[in-house]
Point group: D2
Chain length 265, copies 4
């Protein structure tokens, strides 16, 4: 898929059938849609014939059927995630970013993850292990599994992902793993197995919402033999982007989860 | 360089001449060193003959000349950064991670950055645009420039970086750029030029320490034509990783800088 | 007013005509009302004949006309504030508390404040300067002024407050002032006047929402001759009070305003 | 003691024997000392004959024996606390302020507190219950008890405090209590007793450092019959008070303790 060739970038100047594009009306109103012949996209500012976008240059300013202006541009990876169908709580970019960097994962890594859920974390990991790495994600529930496969296909990341319909507690099939990510209610039940499949130097990365789970995770990681155990939380504070009244937004997210990491030495 | 082939991972089981390894004594004492024949590494727990590590399996438990135990393992990307020579303030992992993810940059991206400084941000970007992307970094000062080239060579990322000895205010040489990163006192002087070299959909990412600079950056980005201008700060709060007295660390970093981002639509 | 004799406390065991009481149904549903003969109080859990509460012991468990149980108890000072009629943004307890303690104000202090607004800050100051101190509050708008007087009367704090219908920029009438509090868009216009009416050792305390106003306030305080100028923000993070799933609330207040303080030496 | 008559304020214009004064050299250097005949106060900027300050006007600019200028002014309540002898961790102003306001305590309240420790919390409570209220503080250790009595005497708040040399777990002697404050490792052992001595509408206020203690406190308060149980933490973020480089301080306090409150209904 072309948008993946250079992360956000492409030199190709025109929209093609099947591209995912960002439709931008204003700072508060923008959409990510797939360009398909014969499909109409309806907004509160009028509708757009998606087929008519084919051949248009990226960055063009166009109009809806009622004359409202919009831009067509390329979506960022975080925009792309917004089209995933959600059926579980998603992990926020602040946490995804720190989980990724802290884990040591990068292009080429072999990663195991559970549970798949909506596939946010899976997608971010797949995006960054490209082109030669791979993510193995475990999901026991049939309905979640199907949805996830569909999501990865739509977003174009399926070539880098193996989705296993299996409860990770029943065993990890991979060996020579560089990192394991666990976003599940009882991650400690998998620590021993994770330790055995990790490469030396590999990391285990846990994301969990309550202080009790953080406490049990720290204890469990140490007992399983992991070293350099660290626990932290990441906070994101958005500012009102207006120079004349610059200040943090009044209301925002104060808590999502704790990030606990260990390393196999 | 082998450690880069899979991010953190390598299936290769033994230490080779020239590898960077993590020497781990305890949670509070660990070092990143390069394995070289004939070199001694001296610590408060005794010295290690680095040449003797060649051929040792990763994950081995060894002893110093005075009998203190240590592990030999692979360093994470954030560990690797710790060996860079510092001559300017570094950017913290919490900010590096969010700058990266928010920018949309990934494997394959073409990125421009200024100023190079110690090269922390350059290194992270280079690590994640591998293997087919490239980072172009601008540094006007002769001494910083030399140090940066040396740093990138030591850490193994130079193949993915072009270091330009030039003040970015005198012009950006690249075209078709996916993202621009600015960590400099007066980033607004480069916004117009950055806009002209960015691809449609590309992002500009500013990191700046004071509220006044944040205010001028927001204003400047909007004036230069950027859309989706966002300003935020990321906070990292570390916990004492001890189940019996689990609580945040008492003292920590409360401020590093603000992250301001815009997109060319 | 009896409830003020001991802060929250009263030994008197029974509810009297005119008392303000807290009607508590559950953790999420409670009300502050005044006990008056012949008045009905209607809730989603049925209605209460307020006159019938006279003579009831504090702490009693009673029932509404449809049999829903509730407790009658004494409101805290922060509960009392909840009955003030609001027409401007209120200051939150986290900020009220720090403004109070940092200012040095306590029982006996003479305090000047502007603008009155809803009267939250005025009420807290009046509560804590009792019984021998006094708060002088300035409000230029006729409608705000009237509402404020009515509010202070209802809450029982009027005996400790002088409400001046006057723009504080036209001059402060008091001398020998222990502290000045300013919650207004352009506090710097009053700094010179405030300096001249303050006692040596007295403090000026500014509450302001934007970084630009914080910056101008710091500059203005220093120019007006104030020393020990400090700027800070207070954050309040509430936890889900459930041992089994203990964690911070997911969404909350991230910003209200900055507190800037100076002292006349 | 005159400084207490009006909180921070006094109309009296001159320094008297026995007054506590603030000696201010600069934003970073100031001291709180007691004016006594025949005593020298030595600083890195020269020495001051404390007796010579008697009769000097508050706000005067004077010189040390080596010609360094300083101001003499009145200390705030938080300055006054700085002279207490410390032998345990102190509670920070951010927490003291919120504990006070949230508890409902004000002039006239009857308060029970344990353990006394350095007496920071005791002093703040005593300052605000003046002139007709009283704080009863429990301290089992002989050495802490003696130090506390001495501290309260020095700071002038002893008339409002009863210091009991007794472990609060052996029982609370007071009845008709408006609020109980507990800063001790195992506060839950006192919840039942606290409930029985509190007035209806009175509050219990717990300050504790770890998540485990927060969890047990919430559980214990509910079991003891308290309602409106709330848990929170207060964060204080100080800014560099310089308009040209306005930003939060880089390093600061990230954690002190959690505040848990319940009310007897």
């Amino acid at each position: 898929m072309p948008w993946l060739e250079r992360g956000i970038g492409m030199e190709a100047a025109v929209v093609k059938e099947g591209d995912w594009v960002l439709i931008y009306f204003s700072e508060k109103k923008s959409y990510v849609v797939r360009v398909e012949q014969g499909r109409q996209f309806h907004t509160t500012k009028g509708s757009i014939d998606l087929g008519s976008l084919v051949g248009v240059e990226y960055g063009s300013r166009l109009e809806t059927n009622v004359g409202e202006e919009f831009y067509v541009t390329r979506p960022l990876i975080v925009d792309r995630l917004s089209v995933l169908k959600r059926f579980t709580q998603v992990i926020y970019p602040k946490d995804l970013a720190y989980l990724l960097l802290g884990s040591g994962v990068g292009p080429g890594s072999r990663v195991v993850e559970a549970g798949t859920g909506t596939g946010y974390l899976t997608s971010i990991l797949a995006f960054y292990v490209r082109p030669s790495g791979r993510v193995f994600t475990y999901e026991a529930r049939e309905d979640f599994y199907k949805m996830a496969v569909e999501n990865f296909e739509r977003i174009g990341l399926l070539p880098y992902i193996t989705v296993r319909k299996r409860n990770i507690k029943e065993g990890i099939k991979e060996r020579n793993v560089d990192a394991v990510f666990l976003d599940m209610p009882d991650p400690w039940e998998v620590f021993g197995e994770a330790y055995s499949v990790l490469n030396h130097g590999g990391t285990i990365n846990v994301f969990t919402p309550t202080t009790g789970q953080m406490s049990r995770s720290i204890e469990g990681l140490k007992r399983a033999g992991f070293k350099r155990v660290e626990a932290a939380e990441i906070m994101y504070r958005r500012y009102k982007a207006s120079p004349r009244e610059l200040r943090p937004e009044n209301v925002g997210i104060w808590h999502t989860g704790y990030i606990i990491r260990g390393q196999k030495l």
